[in-house]
């Protein structure tokens, strides 16, 4: 396959992950357990949605893709390539916090790996978002530690959340058939390499928090090939509800 087509697929799955998780995080606006967390989740939602917009703009401007709004708000479910972790409803705060911890470390290793990418627009974006992500992982790590050290009830909630999220999070690293070519072309190192780096990033935090890391037994795959949970379609319906009233109009 042409390299540009492979890069397009890579950027699409990255952008979709960020859009859908950003959308989910934004659902905490007004509902946070403390006002400060409400603000934090809103802020991270903005960053994620902003990243997806930037990625879709690269698709549009560099790779002949559609207009970013059309691409985000009009695409059909099967054309989305987000992983299942991002699609799950916000659930309770422990779930959302653990998802944020696991995803944001994954995002960090991914962008870090692209600091030297041969595809220049990705390299430039990686440089830009790195600073933001530092605060996201700092936030996630601090909260995980705090809640794990605050007594049995909250510790158990965090361990359960980790158990519930872990296989889903492994699904972030569902390999594409052409990862080797992308790695050989120095676009990025491929999913398996990122998975290893991710484990290295999260393991010390989990140890410090006395959490037991589950084994990678049954990673939840499918999202990268357009197979999704039942939660995605309703999310997309909601997201596009106003835009689709008149996709040609400006809003």
């Amino acid at each position: 396959m042409l390299l540009n087509q492979l890069i397009k697929e890579l950027i699409t799955k990255m952008g979709d992950d960020e859009l859908i998780l950003g959308h989910r995080n934004s659902e905490w606006t007004g509902l946070g357990p403390v006002m400060e967390e409400d603000i934090a989740f809103s802020s991270m939602a903005q960053d994620k949605i902003g990243h997806s917009w930037a990625l879709y703009r690269i698709l549009h401007e560099e790779l002949g893709g559609e207009d970013p709004d059309q691409f985000a708000f009009m695409r059909s479910e099967k054309d989305f390539k987000c992983c299942h972790l991002t699609e799950m409803p916000i659930g309770s705060y422990d779930f959302s916090l653990m998802r944020h911890f696991l995803f944001d470390h994954a995002e960090t290793v991914r962008y870090n790996s692209m600091l030297q990418s041969s595809f220049l627009p990705l390299q430039q974006l990686a440089r830009k978002v790195r600073g933001e992500l530092k605060y996201h992982t700092l936030h996630a790590d601090a909260w995980i530690m705090q809640l794990c050290r605050a007594g049995e009830e909250s510790y158990l909630k965090m361990q359960t959340a980790l158990d519930n999220c872990f296989q889903l999070a492994c699904g972030i690293f569902e390999a594409g058939p052409d990862d080797k070519q992308l790695a050989a072309e120095n676009v990025y190192p491929g999913e398996e390499a990122l998975y290893e780096q991710w484990i290295e990033a999260i393991y010390p935090v989990l140890v410090k928090a006395s959490l037991n890391m589950p084994e990678r037994k049954q990673p939840v795959y499918g999202g990268r090939y357009g197979k999704h949970t039942a939660y995605l379609q309703p999310l997309l319906n909601e997201m596009g509800e106003v835009f689709r009233l008149n996709p040609e109009a400006t809003w």
Partner: protein
């Protein structure tokens, strides 16, 4: 946004009047002199009990209005059309929650904890701006709120920022700065619909018709029926009368609405060139008081959302308290 112009009165004020009588007359005179000279009152300064009580009520209601006011627009974050609007709306609602935080902090300097304030909100004892007890039915409602309710709140907040209590004024200065940015975003989204397709324009007109009465209610009952303002104005707790603020709002925004080719659902709404004041039909004040009592279209829904957040967040707040008691020691794992 979001501070409503109207400070809701609690039914029983007898006890406070007695407290007021017990204020040391010399201290009271000195206090009133300071305010007359334009000095700010700070948390450690002597102040009459009634001044403290009224300020707590005012700032607390303002804080509640920020966090409850985040809800009608917040429900549209997930539906905002396009990246630009989606990001702007999240940022805006996030700011409102931040304003709530600032204001709770300002009220805490007067001796009431955030927790006590939230409890009073949830029990219905403490009020918030009535305008948030109406539903945002379409995207156009979001633009009407973002433009006109924000504009109305700014009229009120700019006035209050010149008040006498230092911490509240400083919080308001910062809030007004951010609000002016929200107003620009709201205006932009409003104009987009007003100048858009016939469908968009109809949607906006419909929302405007529905929101006009709550907007007229926003500044509170007419001065002729709204008593108890004199002392509050002397103490610079209340900085402008309800009718004056309403007039200021109409003066600034009715022409802007009309020049976009939109209409307002009040045949009497007109500026009297002789008096220089706007005239309008009386909005339904019985309805206004019904909504305050809790019988508006969304009172229950709004409080239910806050209750959900409080209940689901309880273990986290508990865990935060415990952590301090544990002195940052790790929880041993069995």
């Amino acid at each position: 946004m979001y501070g409503g112009g109207y400070i809701f009165e609690e039914p029983n004020r007898v006890q406070q009047r007695e407290e007021q009588l017990h204020d040391d007359p010399e201290k009271l005179a000195a206090f009133e002199m300071r305010i007359a000279k334009g000095e700010k009152i700070e948390p450690g300064d002597w102040m009459p009990a009634e001044y403290r009580r009224q300020l707590i009520r005012l700032i607390e209601q303002h804080a509640h209005s920020e966090i409850i006011g985040a809800l009608p627009e917040g429900t549209w974050i997930t539906r905002a059309p396009g990246f630009k609007r989606k990001l702007a709306l999240i940022a805006k609602v996030q700011d409102e929650i931040g304003h709530g935080q600032l204001l709770y902090n300002a009220a805490e300097t007067l001796g009431k904890s955030r927790e006590a304030m939230i409890n009073d909100l949830l029990s219905g004892k403490s009020k918030y701006s009535n305008v948030f007890n109406y539903p945002a039915e379409t995207w156009a409602d979001v633009t009407v709120i973002g433009f006109l309710i924000d504009a109305a709140a700014i009229v009120n907040q700019v006035a209050n920022a010149k008040g006498s209590y230092g911490p509240y004024c400083r919080a308001l200065d910062r809030i007004c700065y951010e609000e002016s940015f929200h107003l620009k975003q709201g205006h932009d989204a409003f104009i987009e619909l007003a100048t858009g397709t016939p469908g968009q324009k109809a949607m906006l007109q419909d929302a405007l018709n529905r929101w006009w009465q709550p907007i007229m209610h926003f500044f509170g009952p007419p001065d002729k029926v709204s008593g108890h303002s004199e002392k509050l104005m002397q103490w610079k707790v209340k900085m402008a009368s309800n009718d004056d603020m309403r007039n200021q709002f109409l003066e600034a925004y009715v022409p802007k609405i009309r020049e976009l080719g939109l209409t307002l659902p009040d045949p009497l709404l007109n500026k009297n060139e002789e008096t220089g004041r706007w005239e309008y039909s009386d909005p339904d004040w019985d309805l206004f008081f019904e909504v305050i009592k809790g019988n508006g279209p969304c009172n229950k829904e709004r409080l239910d959302v806050r209750k959900w957040a409080e209940e689901h967040g309880r273990w986290i707040r508990k865990a935060l308290m415990k952590e301090e008691a544990f002195g940052k020691k790790a929880m041993p794992v069995a």
